[in-house]
Symmetry: C2
Subunit: 272 residues, 2 copies
């Protein structure tokens, strides 16, 4: 099918984990009722975005968060991209996105490769790498006959990662995220649009909604960008759900107009 | 020195080659009078931007265009980035940028790597690769104690090329260009700002001013973008000269805040 409905769930995340899971499931149900075929949650949706919290909220794939995601996918007959959660694997914690299909089967698992380390004096210091380990593999999954690449937040700053996904055939990049009020206004939109233009693909960028009780204030502004770099739909900061119909003929058409991916592959052979 | 004045000469290019050279030299002189230390001309500044014209306007490094550039650099005590010209080398023609220092010595020569091939039905068809050969090397030169990377127009669509320049130490990318009225409004600004943000460097983007007599209509809009992605100064479409003082302490400061280049190098070692 050429057209696929995607839902972007811009949810608040609070200190109460059970409430976060309940809210996420409600949003998935609501998205399915409104015709969504793929439902996307934001980054670290079961925990406040805080390096001191991640350890306590971390679970393995058998934990209650993944159980909820699998159940919600199956019961609502949708593909669920479970934003990301702190995933515990032995002594390590990762920032991981789990994807479930309409049968509730896990079809992809992506561990954030580029951890968010920033130090802006007087404004913001955040070092994910103090508590998290990074993944190493780029992940593309197939749904409804199309290929979707997974990226998480800070990954978007590395064009080489997004290029790997498009080289593997991704026609849309699904990106759970949580930019902040310093880097968000400066870079969120530019980066999303530029990655769409460079890779001639859809960008589906799903952020948390900020909550005044959290230390880290999310920028929100979830959005879909089309393969020509146009913003199709975007949110403000409040909790909300966006729905958009991605038309994959646009990807084919734009890649034919400007054969960037072919030229890129051709020049890479030069090796100079 | 931390601060360097750059001049962006957004000149018209017409069918009369001698007039183009005269106009370029006048703009270099004017820029020097106004305190410029580096003067940048646009892409293919001695010829109309037309694949049927390039062969007739092409010259080698000993031709009148490079002679003018060398003389103007020396007489005005400035570094001149001679936009680009069709360069003849035996049976090949390249889209080449020559750079001369204050002594009139050629300090860099860059042949456009990514040739502009586009086919937008009903709007625009252009195939540089029909008449031009592509270069293969990334080029960085040093002036006033700082490193400058060279890119030409369509090269900006390939983040891997701009990354090579920043990896080689470029703190500013000098880019003679000639986007058009289809791709310009859609992508010129996004691409310039995103490359600045990704590489935490200045982007100096110098376009031709459109001329109604030409087949190919340039987008104009020359601009300087700072390493945080902010547009410092920008032109409209008319012939004009922009002057900007680049402050290289900004590059160092922003690279310390968000250590993108270090993280990029670190993750590349993963090789997965």
């Amino acid at each position: 099918m050429d057209k696929i409905n995607v839902a972007l769930c811009q949810m608040k995340t609070i200190a109460d984990k059970e409430e976060n899971l309940k809210r996420a499931e409600e949003m998935i149900i609501d998205a399915a009722i409104h015709g969504a075929q793929i439902v996307v949650l934001p980054e670290m949706f079961n925990t406040p975005y805080d390096i001191r919290a991640f350890g306590g909220y971390a679970e393995g794939e058998v934990g209650p968060t993944c159980q909820m995601l699998a159940r919600a996918a199956k019961q609502n007959n949708v593909v669920v991209v479970g934003g990301s959660i702190p995933e515990r694997d032995e002594e390590y914690i990762y920032n991981t996105s789990f994807v479930y299909d309409q049968q509730g089967l896990r079809i992809a698992k992506y561990r954030k490769k580029y951890l968010f380390d920033v130090e802006i004096p007087g404004e913001l210091t955040f070092r994910e790498s103090r508590v998290l380990s990074h993944g190493a593999k780029s992940i593309v999954f197939t749904a409804y006959g199309h290929k979707f690449g997974l990226a998480i937040c800070f990954d978007i700053r590395f064009p080489e990662y997004i290029q790997k996904l498009s080289k593997k055939g991704a026609e849309a990049i699904i990106m759970p995220a949580s930019f902040n009020t310093t880097t968000g206004p400066a870079h969120w939109e530019i980066l999303g649009r530029a990655r769409a233009v460079d890779n001639q693909c859809y960008m589906v960028m799903v952020a948390t909604s900020p909550d005044a009780n959290n230390n880290y204030q999310s920028h929100g502004h979830s959005m879909v960008v089309d393969p020509w770099g146009e913003i199709c739909t975007s949110a403000d900061v409040d909790e909300t759900m966006l729905l958009w119909t991605m038309d994959f003929t646009k990807v084919t058409e734009i890649r034919a107009r400007l054969p960037l991916l072919g030229i890129r592959a051709e020049r890479k052979k030069d090796k100079v």
